[in-house]
């Protein structure tokens, strides 16, 4: 999904005003309508109340700690999946035995809605960090492996031949040619897997608790403190935006040759 999202930053102030007026309008409307008492505050607390709640959650450290837990679970799992997925993906593309063994498994495993395994992982590994991390790893393994495999298959044969004629042996070929040549596709896999890692973590936290943004968010609903739910969503939007920008920046940085 390497779709281009038009960036918020427009060339001129007028343009940027044009493109965000609707958001400003919505926020003003939100505050006005809630102040006039037109909406039951449990459904939609005042924007100012949500912002206040956000500040309180951040300053007491609750939000920071929850964000740390969520991101730690998501990224440790993602890291594991990245190592395993890239290895399996490349082996599938380069080795007939691996291809024979893993291709049907990938074909079957890829469309499984992994999130349905949350109760299974609760049964197998409990509700703690380890369980969540393994779940994230299993869920993000597939897109990473598929993208690594397809990227490796598409490495131009003449690049490999070039390297061979210049004296690159079998062992070194992986590091010298295959990995760099497949790296854009591998990176795309990671970009697809990152939101999936967050999805899995949030849902697991909402179902099983144990802290984290998902747990904090759902606690707001259950404790009739909806401002907390909204505040956490603000935080999640911010995290999502930052991660997305970071990945894009990393891509232009690392893959500036593409």
């Amino acid at each position: 999904m390497d779709v281009d999202v038009r960036s918020l930053g427009a060339s001129s102030i007028v343009d940027s005003l044009k493109s965000i007026y609707s958001l400003v309008l919505l926020l003003v409307l939100w505050e006005a309508v809630t102040r006039m008492g037109l909406i039951y505050p449990y459904f939609l607390p005042q924007l100012s109340v949500v912002i206040h709640e956000f500040v309180v959650l951040v300053s007491t450290g609750q939000m920071i700690h929850a964000a740390y837990l969520t991101l730690m679970r998501a990224f440790v799992g993602l890291a594991g999946a990245a190592v395993a997925g890239v290895a399996v993906g490349i082996l599938c593309a380069r080795n007939a035995l691996f291809e024979w063994f893993f291709d049907p498994l990938i074909k079957i495993g890829y469309p499984v809605p992994v999130i349905s395994l949350v109760p299974v992982f609760m049964l197998w590994f409990g509700i703690g960090d380890v369980s969540k991390i393994i779940m994230v790893a299993v869920g993000t393994f597939w897109p990473i492996a598929v993208n690594a495999r397809d990227a490796t298959r598409q490495v131009e044969q003449n690049l490999i031949r070039s390297a061979r004629m210049m004296g690159t042996g079998d062992r070194r070929l992986l590091w010298r040619v295959i990995l760099p040549a497949a790296s854009p596709g591998i990176f795309t896999g990671l970009q697809i897997a990152t939101p999936i890692a967050l999805i899995i973590t949030f849902v697991f936290e909402m179902v099983a608790g144990g802290g984290g943004l998902g747990a904090l968010e759902i606690a707001g609903v259950r404790g009739f403190n909806s401002a907390q739910t909204y505040a956490v969503i603000f935080a999640i939007i911010a995290i999502g935006l930052v991660l997305d920008r970071l990945l894009r920046a990393a891509r232009t940085r690392l893959l500036d040759w593409t």
């Binding site: 061979r164 004629m165 040549a181 040759w257 593409t258």
Partner: protein, 260 residues
């Protein structure tokens, strides 16, 4: 090591069963060390296949191909291919591409750097050392490809329609550069092209291949006086005569293609 190539009774078959295609049929041809030979033939006649077999990229179905009297066994640094699609490493800059073969050979950094720079300068690429391939024009990419192959000093240069995608003035410049390099560096060159004029202009011998499945049809010796400037050579009677000879021979093959 003199860079001679011996091809005898070469046969190459692709695929199996219903997909079986014979690309090269019973081809024998010897190339001396230091010789410049061009290969022309209708498209699909097996020119690239022949070149890749000499390079060691493809298995031989039958017959033998040897370099310096030894049957080839896979690719080796004694042979360097210049690919039609350049096949530059896109993640490496111009300089890094040219350095690649030297790195693999374990040449010490400073020496490698000097060698790479020499070939970059020779190919008029100075100032572009730190550019990535995507930032270069087709002609520049082809020069980088040539510099990269020359830098690790293979005895034999195998070139697959290297100037096919370039416009005429650029082709001519690169052709003249190639002749200079060949004269200076003492290499065996096997040059594939579909351009008869290019083949006659560049080479000492031109091998014409039959259409699919390809084999050697005729070999034309070209004995031109190459000391003068280009315009003198291409307007000479000898050049025109050889060009027509090769063209006629090739014409027979392309014509027979459209007949039943």
């Amino acid at each position: 090591m003199d860079g001679s190539i011996g091809i005898s009774n070469l046969e190459k078959v692709y695929g199996e069963g219903t997909e079986r295609t014979k690309a090269i049929d019973d081809l024998s041809f010897d190339i001396d060390g230091g010789e410049f030979v061009s290969v022309v033939g209708p498209s699909g006649c097996g020119k690239s296949t022949l070149l890749y077999i000499i390079a060691g990229f493809l298995d031989i179905t039958d017959g033998t191909v040897s370099v310096d009297g030894t049957p080839i066994d896979g690719p080796g640094t004694d042979r360097g291919v210049v690919f039609q699609d350049y096949a530059l490493f896109p993640w490496r800059t111009v300089k890094e591409n040219v350095l690649y073969g030297l790195e693999e050979a374990g040449v010490p950094d400073e020496e490698a750097d000097a060698t790479a720079q020499r070939f970059i300068d020779m190919m008029d690429l100075s100032g572009f050392e730190n550019k990535y391939p995507k930032e270069l024009s087709g002609g520049m990419k082809q020069r980088v490809a040539l510099a990269r192959t020359l830098a690790y000093d293979p005895k034999i240069l195998l070139m697959d329609e290297p100037f096919g995608a370039l416009d005429q003035p650029l082709r001519e410049t690169l052709q003249d550069q190639l002749i200079d390099i060949w004269g200076d560096l003492d290499k065996t060159v096997v040059f594939i092209t579909h351009d008869v004029e290019e083949a006659v202009y560049l080479s000492e011998r031109v091998m014409i291949m039959t259409r699919h499945p390809g084999t050697k049809k005729t070999v034309t010796e070209v004995d031109l006086d190459r000391s003068g400037p280009r315009e003198d050579i291409v307007t000479s009677d000898e050049f025109t005569r050889k060009k027509n000879e090769v063209w006629r021979s090739l014409r027979e093959e392309t014509k027979s293609e459209v007949q039943p």
